[in-house]
């Protein structure tokens, strides 16, 4: 029998890491003890991680929330009859959708995240799920591709390549077998949007992948998932099984006679496998070694066949675009950066979490208005954008708009949309060295600039730290970074110099260096 009171407690990796599972057990136990009839739904997180575990209760006017609930609060919550949505408790936050952080967002890709029960396919369907697929089944492949082109969607995994053009290349390359591969190897520090989609709205990714298959003529898909994401694996596996049972996957998608088979494949702890050609090698069962390009995967990818490789958020944005139209998506954003970006605020920040906003918003608005400044309360010293290969920017540069080209002009990248905030206690020498150390450890070893360059980078940084007046060492370091950027086979070696050069460029005073470098 369904409960009288509906209560929502998130079950995503981060909420669980803050005790949501224990709270969920305690709330159910207390309900039994008190003889109160509740229905407990494990929804996904809304992405307001500073409020987690956020317990929500359904009322006739909407869902209300109680923030940072721990097992110790359960008894007092029941005393206040929280299950009726009562506001007389210190943890009460009011209507969740009225919280400024959510209200000010433009949630397109994340429209259902935190709202639905992730594994319930009926919940997904009730919230406009599979409408885009139904539409796409009646469209010609060219028209699907065209709609994506109109939307201006660019790859959200880091490179920012126009998705429509990638799909068109695969579509036009003749082959009996083609593949759609989802890059779910989200390894950048400071990013978790892919994880949230997979844990909180898995059918959305499945729907996006089927549409990609229909557009390019692929009947098989793989999700390459990083092994650290154990909950995403569990949720996706369930969702894929249910999608097969209900006829959304398999040889007769929604009775159309069209086929799409989907399975997932778990990586094994290698950052470089987030690079698409290394990912394909790994998916073929080999060492994750980068392949030289050309040919690009769209022409010769998995087992030499034309392959779409897109990251999770990119594919998860496709259903919205097909459902609502490419033009509507393109209305958001800036000139060449169309639509919205799910930004992830993390590190030393007061209100860390997921913020989906149109491109064009400034970093300052994101970090201060959404993020509320630092967690420690100290001044911001630096901000790293776009993962471990992204640039560090000083506080006075935060008026830059979030935009692929604007960031590129200052030597930065949008990357995966992760923003990591550091306060003034940050050790920039350590962070600079860390970038090279990380690259040395994660390099696949195929090309010399990355394999040897990163190791040399660590050594030169150490030397420079001990001889800060030695201008020759600075020139050497700059030269080495230049070689890595221009001659590495892939983005790992090619972009690992960004954090180093940006720190040298913007923080020479803090580093105790007399000379500034003029990169960017």
């Amino acid at each position: 029998m369904k409960g009288k009171y509906r209560i929502f407690i998130p079950r995503d990796f981060s909420s669980s890491s803050l005790g949501a599972d224990e709270v969920s057990v305690a709330i159910e136990k207390e309900a039994r003890k008190r003889g109160i009839n509740i229905e407990l739904v494990r929804n996904g997180s809304r992405g307001m991680y500073w409020l987690e575990p956020l317990v929500e209760v359904e009322t006739q006017q909407g869902r209300v929330g109680y923030r940072n609930v721990s097992t110790k609060d359960v008894s007092s919550l029941y005393n206040a009859e929280f299950f009726k949505g009562n506001g007389n408790h210190s943890l009460y936050v009011g209507f969740v959708e009225e919280v400024d952080y959510i209200k000010r967002q433009t949630r397109l890709t994340f429209e259902r995240v935190g709202i639905i029960d992730p594994v319930s396919i009926d919940d997904y369907i009730k919230h406009n799920g599979f409408l885009a697929l139904k539409k796409a089944l009646e469209m010609r492949p060219e028209d699907i591709i065209n709609e994506i082109k109109i939307s201006g969607l660019r790859g959200r995994g880091g490179a920012g390549f126009p998705t429509g053009i990638k799909w068109e290349t695969v579509f036009k390359t003749p082959s009996e077998v083609k593949y759609v591969v989802c890059n779910a190897d989200e390894g950048d520090s400071g990013t978790f949007s892919d994880r949230m989609i997979m844990e909180c709205d898995p059918y959305l990714l499945i729907e996006g992948m089927i549409i990609a298959g229909l557009a390019v003529g692929a009947q098989e898909g793989y999700i390459y998932l990083r092994s650290e994401y154990s909950l995403a694996k569990e949720v996706l596996q369930k969702a894929i099984n249910i999608a097969y049972e209900r006829g959304y996957l398999g040889k007769d998608i929604m009775g159309s006679g069209k086929r799409f088979d989907l399975e997932f494949y778990v990586g094994a702890g290698a950052y470089v496998c987030g690079e698409e050609t290394a990912l394909l090698e790994s998916l073929e069962g080999k060492r994750g070694i980068v392949r030289p390009r050309p040919p690009v995967p769209a022409v010769s990818g998995l087992w030499g066949r034309p392959t779409v490789v897109n990251n999770v958020v990119t594919l998860a944005t496709v259903p919205w675009i097909i459902r609502e139209g490419g033009e509507k998506y393109a209305n958001y954003g800036t000139d060449k950066s169309r639509g919205t970006l799910p930004v992830q605020l993390s590190g030393n920040i007061k209100r860390g979490g997921l913020v989906e906003v149109p491109f064009g918003i400034t970093l300052r608005e994101l970090i201060y208005e959404f993020g509320g400044g630092t967690y420690s309360g100290r001044p911001i010293k630096a901000v790293q954008i776009g993962g471990p290969l992204g640039a560090y920017l000083p506080e006075d540069m935060l008026d830059i708009p979030l935009d692929y080209e604007a960031l590129q002009r200052v030597g930065g990248i949008v990357g995966h949309g992760g923003i990591v905030v550091f306060d003034d206690t940050v050790d920039l020498w350590y962070m600079m060295r860390f970038a090279m150390e990380f690259c040395a450890r994660e390099s696949c070893g195929k090309c010399t600039p990355c394999r040897i360059g990163s190791q040399r980078g660590v050594e030169v940084i150490d030397k420079l730290k001990n001889n800060r007046g030695d201008e020759k060492l600075l020139v050497l370091l700059e030269d080495l970074m230049d070689v890595m950027m221009n001659t590495s086979l892939c983005g790992l070696g090619g972009m690992a110099p960004y954090p180093v050069l940006s720190i040298l460029r913007h923080f020479s005073d803090e580093l105790g260096l007399k000379k500034e470098i003029n990169y960017f």
Binding site: S17, L18, W50, A268, G269, G285, R287, G347, G418, Y430
Partner: protein, 161 residues
């Protein structure tokens, strides 16, 4: 694990062109590492050279060559955790267990591993203990987590006596 069980899984997957990594995961999960004899088994069954199997398993940090301790503690070393005092957390846990990353305590109770990013960056610093992820782990929390394991072990010992 019973070898027969492993052979069953191998038989189920071996016709796939990319069975090696999934099978290594199965072995890693059941044994806690990749025992040498399973390398021979895999190379025979999958028709790969031992060098190929060895090459793949040593490329990926998930696959271990030594048996782990009873409890595995994984610490994130990435930027978002560093921004929240992750370096102090790393140092504290190494001192507390008196081992470095990749090592196991002499009593075989703890293995300490490092990795880059759990995707829990908004709740940094992050530490995983026996597969369960914890956010906002500052040194005091590490003490609690370790004490919990130690007292659990003590209870087990008492029951055995």
């Amino acid at each position: 694990m019973v070898e027969r069980e492993l052979c069953k899984v191998i038989n189920r997957l071996k016709d796939k062109k990319n069975a090696l990594i999934p099978l290594l995961h199965v072995i890693q999960e059941r044994y806690g590492y990749i025992p040498p004899h399973t390398i021979d088994l895999l190379s025979d069954e999958l028709n790969l050279s031992k060098a190929e199997v060895w090459g793949v398993l040593t490329f990926y940090s998930d696959f271990k060559l030594k048996p782990p301790g009873k409890h595995i503690i994984k610490v994130c070393r990435s930027e978002a955790c560093l921004a929240m005092g992750g370096k102090a957390v790393q140092e504290y846990i190494r001192q507390r267990l008196k081992i470095d990353f990749g090592q196991t305590t002499l009593d075989g109770l703890f293995t300490l591993e490092d990795l880059y990013c759990f995707g829990n960056c908004a709740c940094a610093p992050s530490v995983m203990v026996d597969g369960k992820l914890y956010g906002r782990v500052f040194p005091e929390k590490i003490d609690t987590l370790i004490e919990e394991i130690l007292s659990g072990e003590l209870k087990k010992d008492e029951r055995q006596v």
